[in-house]
Symmetry: C2
Subunit: 87 residues, 2 copies
């Protein structure tokens, strides 16, 4: 089962990488891009019986390793590869 | 309008960062996590009239700046902030 984990800096945390990307896009002529936030993205292939179990494992991995809970927040999406998922 | 750009290494490209994350998770006891791929995630706030226009701008930004098309592929999701989007 595949879980996607999106890790982003909390809105209150300054994101210099995103700011630089926005400035580079302005230089390239994309003035329509007002703001950029950069984050990390993980695809986990998890051996789990239910989507709920995969989500629980992904959340623990995010808490312990993938995200820094002081400055980052995360969001998880579970994609049931074959079986029709209930959750 | 908010566009999300997910940049991942192409499946044929070796992902040492993802491999290290998977090994670290195994060390922490998460043997159920079989494989990890790491990527980048961008949230662009775009001043566009339609979701299609926002998607076009995000795709150009990804082609020119956010992704390296030789080794990376990207996926775009556009989230219409207020108006009911047609696409």
């Amino acid at each position: 089962m595949r879980a996607r984990v999106f890790v982003t800096l909390k809105p209150s945390v300054f994101d210099p990488q995103g700011t630089m990307v926005a400035e580079a896009l302005h230089t390239l002529g994309y003035a329509a891009v007002k703001d950029v936030r950069q984050g990390k993205y993980f695809e986990l292939e998890i051996d789990a019986r239910t989507p709920d179990e995969a989500r629980r494992i992904a959340a623990e991995a995010a808490d312990k390793l993938l995200a820094n809970p002081v400055i980052e927040s995360y969001r998880i999406e579970v994609e049931a590869s074959s079986a029709g998922a209930a959750a």
